[in-house]
Symmetry: C2
Subunit: 270 residues, 2 copies
Amino acid sequence: MGRAKRMERVVALTKILVDHPQHLFSFSYFCKKFEVAKSTLSEDVLAVKTGLELFGLGKVETLSGAAGGVRFIPGHKLEDDNEFLKELAVKLADPERILPGGMLYITDILCNPQLVVRLGEIFRSRLQHLAPDYVMTVETRGISLALLVARAFNVPLVMARHDNYVTEGPTVNINYVSGSAKEIRTMGLPKRMLQPGSKVLIVDDVMKAGGTGRGMVELATEVGAVVVGKAFLIETAEPATKMLEDYTAFFRLHSVDGENRKITIEPILG
Amino acid sequence: MGRAKRMERVVALTKILVDHPQHLFSFSYFCKKFEVAKSTLSEDVLAVKTGLELFGLGKVETLSGAAGGVRFIPGHKLEDDNEFLKELAVKLADPERILPGGMLYITDILCNPQLVVRLGEIFRSRLQHLAPDYVMTVETRGISLALLVARAFNVPLVMARHDNYVTEGPTVNINYVSGSAKEIRTMGLPKRMLQPGSKVLIVDDVMKAGGTGRGMVELATEVGAVVVGKAFLIETAEPATKMLEDYTAFFRLHSVDGENRKITIEPILG
């Protein structure tokens, strides 16, 4: 293949950077790939940076020195993120979502890849200062969201489970009180998944009383990790007293009124 | 904001297209966003297409007419995909993955966002002729993979579960025989997740005897969907007789020899 033109290189560079959020590529990786000198690559990188930032589509960071390189930091304009959350709040308030017992059906949202990709980036934008080494969740429904939060941070996902599985190897288990159901449940984590001393961000879809979230905090602590944050897509207004403190939520669910078929939910804007 | 230069538009266009695999954007969406005429946009689109295809980073399709527009088709060069599968096979053969009972620990692979994004694209490349409306899996371990296969196809994920949950609404349930454990288990799907008559691609991480896969086929059929394909990351060589036919696998696990600490696994190249 002949040497590519600048426009072609810039397209390829954009694609590769965007596909690997937060991953630090060495300059020599791209110099070799595109068969260009570092000075030419620097101009290409600047073009990507300028284009992305002009349209509020994320940032490009360059680090100089021997350990240097270039990386893409996902994120959108704050007003675009807020607009996205407002639109999602409208979807979440659709009375068709009302389930018996005042529950809200949100599985379709969590199974929509485009929506969870964007939510993952919004979680990261609001929580970037936490710089976690892992994102942790507990099966099942929050897995898709947690995975894409992990992707936006470029860290592995760690998945706690309610049963012991032969496919997980040795696990550390704890018992916890599921806040809403007031049941004692068990939660376990494969020992090999989490390095002791690492920083963990806990992510789940819904927090009611916070019992499950608290269980995850205890489990992470039990394996020697440090919980740097807890983030939930939706928190419920009731019960007002939570078993967790210092968490982040993106929506507050005030009420699900089955009789009048009305859901009251507000986005918590950044 | 003043009108952007071509290079800046092309960067933004690349980013937006790549972020929404298979999503058809109307030309007018981009004409409005970039404040350019359609002829100018056409040249921008051509630049993105040329750059991506030159480096084997996916395709750009344009459809003309009133329902027309532009979309990004994810995918890599076949030799790059094969190289990726070969490298992953080496990782999978690490003796540290051996668990008691000849099981293989793969949760870390399935919890690595970068790897599953790429695997999702490889699944799509090999199965694009199936054109599913939904990707379906069963909790828990295959969810991350299935979600990113769904993302590559730009369709929703449908998640069967082993228990009934108050958060899912009415479900359709079936009993099935877990092939390896010879247990009778239950699997259910929220009725509202899947439209009758829709085309479903079943995805899971590992297929041994195929009992769980067969359960998913029965469940999908029970809700009136049409199963167009079954795809598994890994199939085991044993048992040789499977409860499923006509499936696609990307790795074949021949043996896990705990005594000699040796795993034999081969990638199934495209």
